[in-house]
């Protein structure tokens, strides 16, 4: 079975977010980039399923410029077999989805996995777009994924519960907890990652459908108003009369 895992290169969770002086772009200076945490579930689960089947391949794909290669190598160190980088700045979800769908079509992958969203743009869009571009089902967001032959059983989160869904390959799924315990690279993985193939391809497609006009920071909090523990009940009055939330 051929797995394609999409990984996005995002600022580390603890990053203090700032923008370029014109507020049009994220300021990358001094920022540590990581594999999108949600994508690690997709990557690890694909590797686990490949191992369980005893055959197959896991290919990672990233749409990004050359500076994303350290994280692509990290995915290879975790256990992916090979990688494809579409050499372009990921301008919006549709553009990224077009690139992934194009690569997926050419490689005839059986299962396409990715995280439920990226922690930078928080779009949660690429999975559905790829599924629709390829004309195959998407299951999003999935909390569990098991394969038996060409049939997958997934648990999809819905508000207040879950749906158990069965689909046949090929399909797309976005992944989230508690699908698996994401793996970290070991020494052997890091050594072998250097020699695994990383192919660079040029982008295709018709381009983005959205454009960021400007980024802004949310309004600063006023600062915390402390209520003494002895008169905790006062808080409830403040929530009703001042904050007007109860």
């Amino acid at each position: 079975m051929k797995f394609l895992v999409c990984i996005s290169n995002v600022p580390d969770t603890t990053t203090k977010i700032t923008f370029t002086p014109d507020n049009k772009e994220f300021n990358k200076a001094g920022v540590q980039f990581v594999i999108n945490p949600w994508d690690e579930y997709a990557l690890t689960r694909a590797i686990e399923l490949k191992e369980a089947q005893g055959s197959g391949t896991v290919t990672v794909i990233n749409v990004g410029e050359a500076d994303t290669e350290p994280n692509i190598r990290k995915a290879l160190a975790i256990g992916a077999d090979d990688a494809i980088r579409v050499n372009a700045k990921p301008t919006d979800a549709f553009f990224v989805a077009e690139q992934i769908a194009n690569v997926a079509k050419e490689g005839a992958y059986d299962v396409i996995l990715m995280g439920r969203e990226s922690i930078d743009y928080n779009g949660s869009q690429v999975h559905g777009m790829v599924g629709e571009l390829l004309g195959i089902p998407t299951v999003a967001p999935a909390m569990k994924l098991d394969m038996s032959g060409n049939t997958a059983t997934l648990e999809r989160e819905i508000e207040g519960g879950k749906e158990i869904v069965e689909v046949n390959t090929p399909f797309v799924a976005s992944c989230q907890q508690p699908m698996c315990e994401p793996r970290i690279p070991n020494m052997r993985g890091i050594m072998t990652a250097r020699t695994k193939p990383l192919k660079v391809v040029e982008p295709v497609g018709s381009g983005a459908r959205t454009e960021v006009a400007e980024y802004a920071l949310p309004p600063k909090k006023q600062g915390v108003k402390l209520i003494p523990a002895e008169s905790a009940g006062e808080l409830i009055k403040l929530l009703r009369n001042e904050a007007k939330v109860i």
Partner: protein, 325 residues
């Protein structure tokens, strides 16, 4: 040209987040000088649907196909796309829910539309330019996004738009058929498992949340959280180590790797306020923190705080809520 609103129904009722979406859609329609139609998914009665008039909706369509009761991505996408074509919808508005995200992204490709999710404000329409504000970087930033396509799809973040209630206004309700076939139900669920809700309030829909962390010391103390939640008519939630230790079910865990919530009121009890936790709750309107450590990082993100022991403070809060009547 019109605005199409997707309303999700559950147990015969329109979800609260869909009332917000309907209100958003009717205000967009007003901005554009047109009317807003709704397409219903899930199960609701005609009387429930007619009430969407209170949110400014003029007409509601629904397909009586019984298999639409549960979420099926293929069928929902086809139904909404058919309704959009039928209504010549230029703007489609849905909730930023699990259903909204799954369907919205497929629809955007099918209808060649620009898509913005996580939207927190009404759009700005300036000549031909259509701009929406959305949350980004896990609540640490906002982005103003121009939707450049002729058609636009907007997924509205929960609790970011006030639901309108124009009493007495009724929408007309009409049956609509998207001629769904078996193939559209290829991803129909084999089984649907609903979780038990403490106090009956669904966490992703809640406008008040009482949440507990490791400071609660063990599952046997959760009655303190539940009592306050019940009194406030709030949902309960927890931090990751709490669900990892099985004190609470996974679906209550909020944060970077759990559920993202944006209620009007978030009360954090015995939670330190690690950045990964904040990522899931920092766009809550009002944050209250109860922690015995005055240096807990959560106080920096809080609007109100009590430096104190949860075991002492929580019963006092519950009592005070009950006294409000």
């Amino acid at each position: 040209m019109s605005v199409l609103v997707v309303v999700e129904c559950d147990n015969g009722e329109v979800k609260k987040s869909s009332l917000e979406v309907a209100s958003y859609g009717s205000q967009v329609a007003q901005l554009l000088g047109t009317t807003a139609t709704a397409i219903a998914v899930g199960v609701a009665t005609e009387a429930n649907l007619a009430q969407l008039g209170e949110q400014g909706i003029s007409k509601v369509l629904y397909d009586a196909e019984p298999r639409l009761k549960d979420f099926v991505n293929g069928a929902y996408t086809k139904l909404i796309a058919a309704a959009a074509e039928n209504e010549q919808a230029q703007v489609i508005v849905l909730a930023n829910s699990n259903i909204g995200a799954a369907v919205g992204s497929r629809l955007s490709v099918r209808l060649k539309a620009s898509l913005a999710t996580n939207v927190v404000e009404l759009p700005k329409v300036d000549g031909g330019k259509f701009t929406v504000r959305r949350g980004a970087y896990s609540g640490k930033a906002l982005a103003d996004v121009i939707l450049t396509g002729d058609r636009k799809i907007i997924a509205v973040k929960k609790n970011s738009i006030e639901a309108l209630h124009n009493a007495g206004q009724a929408a007309t309700v009409e049956q609509f058929s998207a001629q769904l076939t078996d193939a559209d139900f290829a991803d129909a669920p084999k089984q649907v498992v609903m979780q038990e809700q403490a106090g009956g309030v669904l966490l992703p829909e809640a406008d008040k949340v009482v949440s507990g962390g490791r400071g609660m010391k063990g599952p046997e103390h959760w009655n303190l959280i539940e009592d306050l939640a019940k009194a406030l008519h709030a949902a309960t939630a927890c931090s990751k180590p709490v669900s990892d230790a099985d004190w609470r079910p996974h679906h209550e865990h909020v944060g970077q790797t759990g559920i993202t919530v944006s209620p009007n009121l978030y009360i954090a009890c015995g939670i330190s306020g690690a950045i990964q936790h904040l990522a899931g709750v920092n766009s809550s309107k009002v944050i209250v923190v109860i922690n015995k450590d005055p240096e807990a990082p959560f106080f920096k993100a809080a609007d109100y705080g009590i430096v104190g022991d949860v075991f002492d403070v929580l019963p006092k809060l519950t009592q005070a809520v009950k006294e409000l009547g």
